[in-house]
């Protein structure tokens, strides 16, 4: 499990073959924080079903309380990074944690840069 995770991290940091697409070609993740965020997203995806089911047991009034306490302990035992609330919607290009527009997944600075160069479809400078 640990070896697989390490191998995956290495592969992520390795260089990707340059694809014949115009514009920026990104071979590495922008920074380690972005890498950690990617790991968290992957784990959250893997454990999503279990978390949902254990939470369903925890958050109801029908089942006995002892069962719910056991479920509490179980969910705390899951890896910490599997929690979806730890995911931060960073900018895809600059890994900026704040000022990110969700629709484009870009930080405000990058968004402005591309919009001014007319590289964001359907976006125009507002004037009214």
């Amino acid at each position: 499990m640990a070896a697989a995770a390490l191998g995956w991290a290495l592969r992520a940091a390795r260089q990707v073959l340059p694809s014949p697409c115009p514009g920026q070609v990104r071979s590495y993740y922008v920074d380690w924080r972005m890498l950690r965020d990617v790991k968290r997203r992957r784990l959250a995806y893997e454990y999503a079903d279990e978390r949902l089911r254990i939470n369903a047991i925890r958050k109801n009034t029908i089942l006995p309380k002892e069962l719910q306490e056991v479920a509490d302990k179980e969910i705390a035992a899951l890896p910490r990074d599997s929690c979806p609330s730890r995911i931060r919607n960073r900018c895809v290009l600059t890994s900026r944690p704040r000022g990110v527009r969700r629709r484009w997944r870009l930080s405000r600075i990058v968004f402005r840069h591309f919009a001014d160069h007319a590289q964001v479809s359907g976006v125009q400078r507002a004037m009214w």
Partner: protein
Amino acid sequence: EKDKSTTSKGSTAEEASKRKEGTAETPKQKLLDIIGNMKVEVSYRKKLQELKASENKKQDTNRQEGPDSAGPQRTAEGIQRGKPLNPELVKAASAVASSLPLNKKQTESELLAQLRRHEETTDKQKKGETINISNVISEMTVKKQSPAQRAARISGRISLELDDDGQRIRPERFSSQSFDSRRSLKVGKRLNIFTKASTEPEHALKTVSSPTIWDLEFAKEIAAITAQPPRNGFEEMIQWTKEGILWEFPIDNEVGMDDGAEFHEHIFLDKHLEGFPKDGPIRHFMELVICGLSKNPYLSVKQKIEHIEWFEKYFEEKKKLLQEI
């Protein structure tokens, strides 16, 4: 050809042309007066006349030989036909013919012939004796009733006993139900209301190349421009169905669901609850889980079954703990 025709009718043409040049306005005025005086009923005939006149013009330019001999024949035929035409129409026809630059007599005779044809067709339609109906009647055959069925029908008519509901008691009939509506139920083209429409038209359209994005956009544009606001409730409902607000009837439970499994497999998940105890809070909890799953359109049937099985495993593991309680 043209020289011959002109020489043979030199006199009449000259006269016509002289008349035309000298009193160019009066025939037109005459025509206009006649047309203006006509009532609304006859306006359609005027349009037809004009159409026929333009057709005649074209025909005349094409053929110049036949009309010379056919002209007097047609007039003779016209006289022979018994139905008298409206004198106003005749006047209008002559005025139209005089206004045209070509052979006056021939155009007039043609117009009158066509008028006569119109009259005949309209009379036929009024009487309802068009050929189509006679064809239909000839194709229909008389149905033979068995004496037993006939007796049953008569007895049914005579007895007017009423049930508690107020419906007539009828003697039990097995095969006569098909004759009740005077046509058997299995004859006739299927409307495909309750079965899915056949895929034949799709095959016919596949020969044409699939429309490009530009074609689709163009079609959408045209549809948007020509779209009128709905005139009545039916059109409103049609619009809503197109938008997706209203479902299509008869209701198809599997619209938008390409899972391959039937809709009842998604909803009736009770059979998977056999591994659970029949009483107690766990059963209650699982029934709620199943209720939620049945309303979930996003999961496939397999995922739902896995969900329920996970809970089964979980409660199996916790059995010891549960028995302590």
